[in-house]
């Protein structure tokens, strides 16, 4: 299961010694198996919100519920894919992918079986023994996704994972991400600043307002999958997202 609810989540940051309200009471419900994208103006706290969902930061107000239970800390049922991958350079690709399994004490043979499956899924098998400095940015993000998937989380939290990729690699991963989602049926919350990316990936797209941010609008992207970025029919949704992004209140 993986129904994630954010109720009135607030977060303050210190700015010039004064508290600055970044999240102004965010409400968002993401159903089990849903793919939700979050877009918002830069500095609106969408990444912070994702980190709160992961348990990496504590909210100053409100709460996060997973399947009706309050969450306070990080947990293996909510795994984050970081913007820069956050892969461990001292480990091989395989050891990176197996890290979480090793931590939870799963024996090597079993670990290998699981990692083989995901290395194969992410087309990384031939790089299993490489170190991360030998990989391209796109490859690194594949490893990061594989590392998250082996944990078999209920919810996958993705923080602009494709921001640093060239457009070709990104287009490829956008399609793959949809296939992975279909295959694994995970709940995915995906933060991005790229509107076409949000339209391609999200079943729903939550638009954050400027600080102190709230969920300003939720747009249903009701369109067949797998979608590709150049599909003109997605333009309607992109326009809708863009216009609600544009109509921001004064900061």
């Amino acid at each position: 299961m993986g129904k994630l609810e954010a109720k009135n989540v607030e977060k303050f940051f210190q700015h010039d010694g004064k508290p600055l309200k970044t999240l102004g009471g965010v409400n968002l419900t993401v159903n089990d198996g849903e793919f939700v994208c979050i877009v918002g103006p830069s500095g609106c706290g969408k990444s912070t919100f994702l980190r709160i969902l992961a348990g990496l930061e504590k909210p100053d107000g409100g709460e996060i519920m997973l399947d009706g239970k309050k969450v306070n800390d990080t947990g293996p049922e909510r795994i984050m894919v970081f913007q820069e991958g956050a892969l461990f350079p001292w480990l091989t690709v395989r050891d990176n992918v197996e890290y979480g399994l090793k931590i939870s004490g799963i024996p090597e043979k079993e670990r290998n079986e699981i990692s083989n499956r995901y290395l194969d899924m992410m087309q990384l098998t031939q790089f299993a023994n490489s170190y991360t400095y030998q990989l391209s940015t796109g490859m690194k993000q594949r490893v990061a996704i594989a590392r998250a998937l082996v944990m078999d989380p209920d919810v996958l939290l993705m923080d602009e994972p494709f921001a640093a990729l060239d457009s070709q690699t990104r287009d490829l991963l956008l399609v793959e991400m949809q296939l992975i989602w279909k295959k694994t049926q995970k709940t995915i919350i995906f933060v991005t600043h790229n509107v076409p990316e949000a339209a391609v990936l999200g079943s729903r797209v939550a638009v954050f307002s400027a600080r102190p941010s709230i969920v300003k609008k939720i747009i249903d992207v009701d369109y067949k999958r797998p979608r590709v970025a150049e599909d003109e029919n997605l333009g309607v949704y992109e326009k809708e997202i863009l216009s609600s992004l544009r109509h921001q209140g004064p900061k």
Binding site: A54, G55, L56, T74, P76, R78, I79, M80, F82, Q83, E84, A86, F88, P89, W90, L91, Y99, G100, K102, I103, S104, Y131, T132, Y133, R147, M151
Partner: protein
């Protein structure tokens, strides 16, 4: 390229020995003040043939290794705690900086009073001379870890000692190597200095014996041995580990 560089070095050292020999032949100073390279060489050969040199090297080396091991172990624990626990940093951290400024030989009187003229005293001086350099580098290394490594590990369930062994230590390892290298340099100075003052076996002791016997060539021979061991350990042990770590971590 590499052979060329090696050749340059060899030529340089041959040139030094020739200049040295020429100065000696000019008879500016008497031989008991300025010995010829041949006399120093003879002294080394004598030390090798009667085994006293190897015994001295062996004694200094095991003291060094034990002292350095203590410094590395203790320095890692201290450095990690300082980096991860703010209170430890605010309290012990300032003390470490102060202690780091004490030269290792300045610990000798205390070591003699506490441990007497024993191996333990020399090892104490060696370890204490090196531990704070290790601590400071480990601290810097852990402080500079990309926070997303720690967050990713925590997110995947790593806690406490698991987090330390699987992320903090490997992630900070490039800095730690620098710390170990500095630690070794301090430990080597510490062990020789302590042996000199304790006058209790080892290369430092042999150096002091040379002085007591007014045997300049032995003094210089021992200094050359101390330098030679330094070059070997720096070049073969630490350089290799460093190169490997740097390339593996993608820093080079």
């Amino acid at each position: 390229m590499k052979a060329n560089l090696f050749g340059k070095k060899i030529l340089f050292y041959i040139a030094i020995i020739i200049v040295w020999q020429v100065i000696d032949s000019a008879d500016i100073w008497p031989d008991n003040i300025f010995p010829s390279p041949i006399e120093v060489g003879e002294d080394l050969i004598y030390g090798i043939s009667d085994g006293s040199l190897f015994y001295g090297i062996g004694t200094s080396m095991w003291r060094l290794i034990l002292g350095l091991a203590i410094a590395i172990g203790g320095g890692m624990i201290l450095g990690i705690f300082m980096a991860r626990v703010e209170t430890v940093n605010q309290t012990i951290g300032s003390l470490v900086l102060g202690l780091q400024s004490i030269p290792s030989v300045a610990w000798v009187p205390l070591a003699i009073l506490w441990f007497g003229l024993t191996d333990a005293g020399i090892i104490f001086v060696t370890a204490i001379g090196a531990i704070f350099a290790v601590t400071i580098n480990v601290y810097t290394g852990v402080k500079n870890i990309d926070p997303s490594y720690i967050e990713a590990a925590r997110n995947m369930g790593a806690k406490g000692s698991q987090l330390i062994t699987t992320v903090l230590i490997p992630a900070a390892f490039p800095y730690m190597i620098t710390g170990f290298k500095q630690g070794w340099a301090f430990a080597w100075r510490g062990v020789i200095g302590a042996e000199l003052l304790f006058s209790f076996l080892g290369l430092g002791f042999l150096l002091n014996v040379g002085r007591q016997l007014n045997d300049v060539s032995q003094v210089i021979a021992m200094m050359l041995v101390i330098m030679g061991i330094g070059i070997l350990i720096d070049g073969f042990v630490f350089k290799r580990i460093e190169d490997k770590v740097m390339s593996r971590w993608g820093l080079r």
